[in-house]
C-alpha cells in the first residue's frame, strides 16, 4: 500500500524497498524491509586462504574470501575467522566483502533506489559508528542510511514502546530499557555470559568429564557405528588434506556445541549451588535422577550420557560465579563482569575537560572496569541479577511499566525453562513490581527479532524523514548526525 490510497491512519506502512542489515556475532541477517524474515541468514564468519592474507598486505594484492555454506569446505591453509565481536564489526575488509557479496551476487541490489538500515548494539562508540557510516557510504552506493539500535528494533517488533529488552545472543547478554522507542544507553547493561560462554563451558565440561572421548569435527568422519561412552568410539575418518587450520577446526567444533545447546540444555528450576547445602544437595539429586538423563551423540558416533550437567550448564547463565572453568585459559577469557557499560568514549568528543574531574561523583557513569585491576571486587551478575539491577537503575516512574514489558530474545533464550526460571527469580527479587515476560513463541522469530523490528521500522511511512542521505551526512557532519539523527 502507499500513501496515495492510504486514508486510514492505522496502517502507516509505505514500502520503499529498503534493505535491512542486522550483523550479529553469530549470524548476520540481510533482507528487504517489509518482509517477515531476512532473505539471507549467514554465519558471521569468513574463510580465507592463509597465503592470501600475506598477499593482501602487499599493495595491489587481491584476496578471495568465502562466505556462507562455502566456509564449511575443508581446504588446506584456509582460516575461518569471525567478522564481528560483541556485535561490533572487527574485520572491516571482510565485512565489506561479505556484504557486497550478498548485496551484489545474492540479492542483486539496485543501489540507487534502496536505502539501508543497519542495526547496532547500544554500546557502540561514536568513533565506531562514524567508521561504519563512512565505510558504507564509501564502499556502497546506497542513497541513504540509518543506524537503528537493536533494542529499539526489538521493541518495534513487539509493538511495545516501553519495555526492557533482554537479548541473550552469542557474544553478549544485553539488557536495555526502551522508552518511547528510544533505547536508554545509561541504564543498559551487558555481560559476556551468553552463547559463546556456554559453548566454552560445554567444551570444558566434555574435556573434563570424558577425557577419553574424542571430539572430531563432523567433516572428518567417513563412517561411524553408534556406541555409548565407556565403550570406545567406532568410526573411520576421511583422508583429508594435512594443512587444515585450527581456526577452521574450532569453527567446525562450535557447530557441535551449538547442537549440544539446542538438544541438551535445560534450565533448572532453582539455583543448583545454594547457600543451604542440604537444599542444594536435594536439588542436585533430583536433577541427577534417571528421568533427567539424556544421551548426546558426538560426531564420532560415540554417545555421552549426561543428567545433572545438562542443568548445570544452563545454570551457568544465571550463576556464572559458581562455575569456574576447569581450563584456566578459559577463566581468563571471561573476567568477572557486573554488566555495566562504560559509555565514556561515546561522548568524548564534546566533553569539556573541566568536567572530567567530576566523573567520580556521578552515579550514572558506571565505574570503569579498570577497578578490577586495582583489587576491587566486582560483583558478578548472572542473568536475573543483571535484569534486576537494570530495573532498579531505571527511573522510578518508568520502572513498573518497564517491568511489565520485559522482552526476552536472542538464540540462547530458546533453552527450555529459561523464561520460567527468570520469572520466578525476578518476582522474588522484586516483590513490589509486577513482572511480565514476553518471548515470541516462534524460534526463528526469536533470533531474527532485531532484524524483523528493523524491517518494520524501515517500511513505515513516517520513517521516510529519518533516512540520512550521503549529501546530508557530508553537509551536517558526523557529530550532529550521530547524536541527533541516529538516536
Amino acid at each position: 500500500m502507499s500513501s496515495g490510497g492510504n486514508t486510514s491512519s492505522v496502517y502507516a506502512g509505505d514500502e520503499i524497498n529498503a534493505i535491512v542489515l542486522d550483523p550479529g556475532s553469530y549470524n548476520t541477517r540481510i533482507g528487504y524491509a517489509g518482509d517477515d524474515f531476512p532473505k539471507v541468514v549467514v554465519p558471521s564468519y569468513y574463510g580465507i586462504d592463509k597465503n592470501d592474507i600475506a598477499k593482501s598486505n602487499a599493495p595491489g594484492g587481491k584476496t578471495r574470501r568465502v562466505f556462507g555454506e562455502d566456509i564449511n569446505l575443508p581446504r588446506s591453509n584456509f582460516e575461518t575467522n569471525p567478522i564481528l565481536k560483541d556485535s561490533e564489526i572487527q574485520d572491516w575488509d571482510a565485512a565489506v566483502d561479505q556484504y557486497s557479496h550478498y548485496f551484489n551476487k545474492v540479492l542483486k541490489l539496485d543501489y540507487k533506489e534502496q536505502p539501508i538500515l543497519i542495526t547496532e548494539p547500544v554500546w557502540t562508540s561514536n568513533q565506531y559508528r562514524q567508521q561504519l557510516i563512512d565505510t558504507f557510504f564509501e564502499k556502497f552506493d546506497f542513497p541513504a542510511l540509518y543506524l537503528a539500535k537493536s533494542p529499539t528494533c526489538i521493541s518495534f517488533q513487539q509493538g511495545r514502546p516501553n519495555c526492557l529488552v533482554v537479548d541473550i545472543g552469542h557474544d553478549s547478554v544485553s539488557v536495555t530499557p526502551v522508552i518511547d522507542g528510544i533505547s536508554l544507553l545509561k541504564n543498559s547493561m551487558k555481560t559476556n555470559y551468553a552463547g559463546r560462554f556456554l559453548s566454552d563451558h560445554i567444551q570444558d565440561l566434555l574435556a573434563h568429564k570424558f577425557p577419553e572421548a574424542k571430539i572430531e569435527p563432523r567433516y572428518r568422519i567417513k563412517s561411524k557405528n553408534p556406541t555409548v561412552f565407556p565403550t570406545a568410539a567406532d568410526y573411520t575418518t576421511k583422508p583429508l588434506n594435512e594443512n587444515i587450520t585450527t581456526s577452521f577446526d574450532d569453527y567446525q567444533k562450535e557447530k557441535i556445541w551449538h547442537e549440544f545447546k539446542e538438544s541438551m540444555l535445560e534450565v533448572p528450576e532453582k539455583k543448583l549451588n545454594n547457600l543451604n547445602a542440604s537444599q542444594s544437595n536435594s536439588i542436585k539429586e533430583f536433577y541427577s535422577s534417571d528421568a533427567n538423563k539424556r544421551l548426546f551423540e558426538l560426531p564420532t558416533g560415540q554417545s555421552v550420557e549426561l543428567s545433572l550437567d545438562r542443568y548445570a550448564l544452563a545454570d551457568t547463565l544465571f550463576d556464572p560465579e559458581s562455575y569456574p572453568f576447569h581450563n584456566a585459559d578459559l577463566n581468563e577469557k571471561y573476567p568477572p563482569s557486573n554488566g555495566e557499560i562504560s559509555l565514556a568514549n561515546t561522548f568524548d568528543d564534546y566533553k569539556p575537560l573541566k568536567r572530567a574531574r567530576k566523573a567520580e561523583s556521578n552515579q550514572s557513569t558506571p565505574p570503569l572496569s579498570q577497578d578490577d585491576h586495582n583489587g576491587n571486587h566486582t560483583e558478578i551478575r548472572g542473568l536475573s541479577s543483571l535484569i534486576s539491577s537494570t530495573l532498579s537503575s531505571v527511573d522510578i516512574d518508568l520502572r513498573s511499566s518497564v517491568a511489565h514489558n520485559i522482552i526476552i530474545t536472542g538464540g540462547v533464550s530458546l533453552i527450555p525453562q529459561l523464561t520460567e526460571r527468570l520469572y520466578t527469580e525476578l518476582t522474588n527479587s522484586n516483590p513490589g513490581l509486577k513482572i511480565r515476560l514476553h518471548a515470541v513463541g516462534n524460534s526463528s522469530e526469536r533470533f531474527n527479532q532485531a532484524w524483523i523490528g528493523g524491517s518494520i521500522l524501515a517500511s513505515l511511512g513516517t520513517f521516510h524523514q529519518m533516512w540520512v542521505s550521503k549529501e546530508e551526512y557530508q553537509e551536517v557532519g558526523p557529530d550532529r548526525i550521530l547524536s541527533q539523527r541516529f538516536r
Partner: protein, 536 residues
Amino acid sequence: MSASDILDVLNVQRGEGAPAKKKQKTNNGKTQRQSGMARELYNLLGPNTPPVSLSAGGGSSAVKDKLNLKPSPWSRIGFTPQKSEKGKSNLKLYHWVKGSKELLEQEAIEEKPYFFDKFDLKPDIPELVDEETYDRLMEEIRREKSKNSIPTETTNDDTKPASNDNNDNKTTELVNGIDKEKESRADSKEKEHKEDGDKSPAETEWSYEETKQLFVLCNDFELKWHAIFDRFTYPGKTLEDLKEHFYLLCGKILKNKPNVNPQLLDSLNSYSKSKEIERKQYLENLLTRTPAEIAEEESLVVEARRFELAAKKMLVERSNLLTLFDSPQTSQSVQQYRSSQGLTNLYNSLMIMDKHQKRKQLSFQKGSSGRDPIPPSIPVAASSSFKKDRGFQTHLQQYLSGLLKQNQANNNGIKQEKSAVQQLLAKKLTVKEEEAYGLYYHANEKLTPGVILRSGQRLPGLSQRQSTLKSVSSLLQELDIPTVGGTNWKPIMPTRKTMTKFDELLRASATLLEVKKAKDKLESEIKLIKSQRGLQ
C-alpha cells in the same frame, strides 16, 4: 449432462435414500449455484456438496465484475521526503502508488505535499537566547531562588513583586507559596541527607554550554525527558535538575516575549524539584516493601472491603426489619385478628411481605456478587453459627456441600431462587443447630423413598417372634415405660432420639428375656440331673 447421467453411464448403483437427499441439497444449493459457477459445471458436482462455499456473499456480479475489470494501475515513482530543517533534501526514494504514471507525475509537479509530512511534528520550544541574555536570566533566577529559600511568614510578600491584577493568578501564587514552604522543609531534609560533601540540588550550576545541549536535546527528543536525560552528557545532573532548569529558563525567555499564554507561564513556574524528588522517594519506598508487608496491606484492604459490605448489608436488613415491624398497624385495634380467619389473614400478609423481602435480598446478593469478588462470605458471617469453628464440618454438611455444589453446577444455566431449606442447608450449622432443625444424615441406612412419618415407622427391633414381643410388652409394663399402647410399639412422643433409644430398649429386653429363658432351662436341667444322681 448431469451427475445422474454420469452415474448411469458408469453403471453406478445408487441407494434408495440418495435421490431424496440430493433433491434437498440442490434446493438448498440453488442460491449458491447461481454464484460464480456455470450451471453445467455445478450439475457435474452431483450429490457432493462443494468443498468450499463458492459465493462470498457478494453474489456472482462481484466476481464477474472483478474478472472483467482492468487492474488499476500502480506505478513505482520517486518521491522526496520533506526535511523540515533544510528545506528540500535531494534524497529520492521510490515507492508504489496507485494510479498511472502520467497522472502521478502531474501531481508531483503540482507539489502535492508529501503524505507522511504531517506526522513530522516539532515541539514548540522557545529558542535559546544568546550567552549574554542567558547570564542575565540566570542571575535573575538565582536571585529569586535565594529569596524563596528564606521561609516567609506571609505569602503576600511573595505575591507583591509579581504584581498581578487578576484573582486567578493570586490563588496560584498562593499555592506556590505553600509549595515553597514545603520545598524549604524538604530542602533542609535533603541537606541532612547529603551532608557528606555532596552539593545540594538547589546549587547546581548551569554553564551556557550545558544549557545549549539541553535545549538541543529537548528539541531532538520532543521533550521526552527520560531520553533527554539519557543522552545528556554532562555529569552531575539529575533528571529533576534538567527539568527545573529548562522550565525556569523557558519561563524567563517566554516572559520577555509578546503575547504569551499566561497559563503556560504559570505551569512552567509551578514545577517543584524538591516535591518531585520527594514523590519519587515515596514511590521508591512503596516499591521496596517486603512481600510480607505487601500481603498485609492487601489483606487489610480486603478486610476493609468486607466490613463495608457487611455494614451495607446490615443497613438493608435493618430497614427491612423496620418495615416488618410497621406492617400491621399497631395503633389499630387487635379486634380484627381475634377470629381465626383474621389470624390467617394476618399470617398470609406477613408471609407475602417476607417473600418479597427474601426475593429482594437474593437479587441484591446476586447483583453484588457480580460486582465484587468477595461478598459471598458475608451472609455466612451474619449467621449465628459464624462465630463457632468455621473449619469444622459435620457429616451432614460435608455431604450437603457436595450435593449443593453438584446442584449448582447442574442448574447453572437456569436462574433459580433457593428454597428456604436450601438456604438453610447452605449455611454452616453446628451440631446443636442441626439437632434443633431436626436435620440428620442417614449415612448407611436404607431409606424408602418418599415421605415417612416417624409414628408409622417400623422399628427394626420389632422383628422378633410374637411370643417374645408379648413378654417384652409385659416387661415394659412392669417397668412403667409408657407406650402408645395397643399393638403400636411406639413411644408416645416419637422423636428421633426416643425412637432410637426405644429401639435399643426393645432389643435389650428381648435379649434379656432370651438369656433368662436359657438360664431357666439350664437351671432346670441341672436340677434334674442332680435329682437323678440322688445328690439331694
